[in-house]
Symmetry: C2
Subunit: 214 residues, 2 copies
DNA sequence: CACTTCATTGAACACGTGTTTAGTATTTTG
DNA sequence: CAAAATACTAAACACGTGTTCAATGAAGTG
């Protein structure tokens, strides 16, 4: 259908865009020069500007491409698999899980998502807005079908769930060193999901009235 | 203004450091020029280099100062109030709550913390490491005293709790627009804590084969 | 073929950057 | 007070940056 994840695009334009995606994700937009992007793509610096107008134009193109790809991933959670999830009672659908299943291990998209959300640029805000709406809808449906417990403040609950999920991607490196496993690998995610699911289903604190720790 | 957040330091050095902290937090290190920092501090650009040697030296100084201030805040959660928390069962201890209680509304430190954690900065990594160790210790103590339920994988549980807490700061703006309240204000945090506490104590999803809690 | 369009490049330009330098006020100190 | 050290500044420098420009080759088009 959509060639969002299509890696078979070998045009110079796509090569430059992918090179920029990797460098931007790794070091940030400002720390990467046009000459570096051109070298990584194997072209001349002038060609980068020829295809994208300016460095900021390239940034916009990379943003759009990344947002499309990321949206395509998230759509699998909110749309297609929602009915299956509700039917089977499987509640372990997460953005992190989609990342692990779909992306190759060395993909730069998790890091780029981090940059999108770190900088307050409108692309990241729009991305989050769409994902939040989807999360909210899924949770409402789960409450209606009795899979999830109702809550007085569904807006907060949906935001909390989405945010806790995204944090796995945002703090991937820190989590890796803390627990000794990369949560964006199958083994690491399995460890992570197991315990998090336990909290989501049964809570973590025994006696009611106690509060969450640091 | 606590001891670490002492604003009574009116030396040019501190003024420059604070100006740099605000600008770095808002726009990132690379996007801020020495001339802008000097203008914000009301001094000449050369004085910035005179006091800190280089722009990177200034960055190191700002990092150290921010890390000290943030550590002082976190220390209040893990150290001093741990016994009180276990004894009284009261306190809702979270990093976000400490921020709201201690910092003035316009403080740049939340945004700077976000930059520290999301840019693979070694200072941010060290900060996270210390906070993780503290969180782990608190949770272990809570399990020992029966306040928290035991878990097979305490490393993951501690990481999940810390990360979910930090996510409030990392995604502050996105959460604000999603739920219509800034979670780093007293009112917004109250909403947030109420629902999150419900999840932590009773869970949010029905376990397979069980009925959702009411 | 002639002609246009597009992809691509090396070289240069204009500008902003961090930094240096030399010098002046201001404070400290013996 | 004299001298040394420090706080501070204006101006300039060296360099890397994004960008432009003219030119060359390739590919389609009538």
């Amino acid at each position: 259908m959509s060639s969002v994840t299509d890696k078979r695009d070998f045009t110079a334009r796509a090569t430059i865009r992918n090179a920029a995606l990797g460098l931007f994700a790794e070091r940030g937009h400002d720390a990467v020069t046009v000459r570096e992007i051109a070298a990584a793509a194997g072209v001349s610096p002038a060609l980068v500007l020829h295809h994208f107008g300016s460095k900021d134009g390239l940034r916009v193109a990379v943003d759009a491409h990344a947002a499309d790809t990321l949206d395509a991933i998230f759509a699998q959670l909110g749309g297609q698999e929602l009915t299956e999830m509700l039917a089977s009672g499987e509640t372990s659908t997460s953005v992190a899980q989609a990342f692990v299943q779909i992306f190759p291990p060395g993909s730069a998209l998790p890091a780029y998502l981090r940059r999108l959300l770190l900088t307050n640029d409108p692309v990241g805000a729009a991305l989050f807005g769409r994902w939040y709406a989807t999360t909210r809808g899924v949770l409402d449906a789960m409450v209606d079908s009795g899979v999830a417990a109702p809550t007085e403040d569904p807006a907060v609950r949906a935001a909390f769930m989405l945010v806790s999920d995204l944090a796995v991607i945002l703090l991937r490196e820190q989590i890796s060193t803390a627990i000794g496993d990369d949560p964006l690998t199958p083994t690491g995610l399995a460890r992570w999901t197991k315990d998090v699911t336990a909290v989501y289903t049964g809570g973590a604190f025994a006696a009611p009235g106690k509060e969450p720790p640091s």
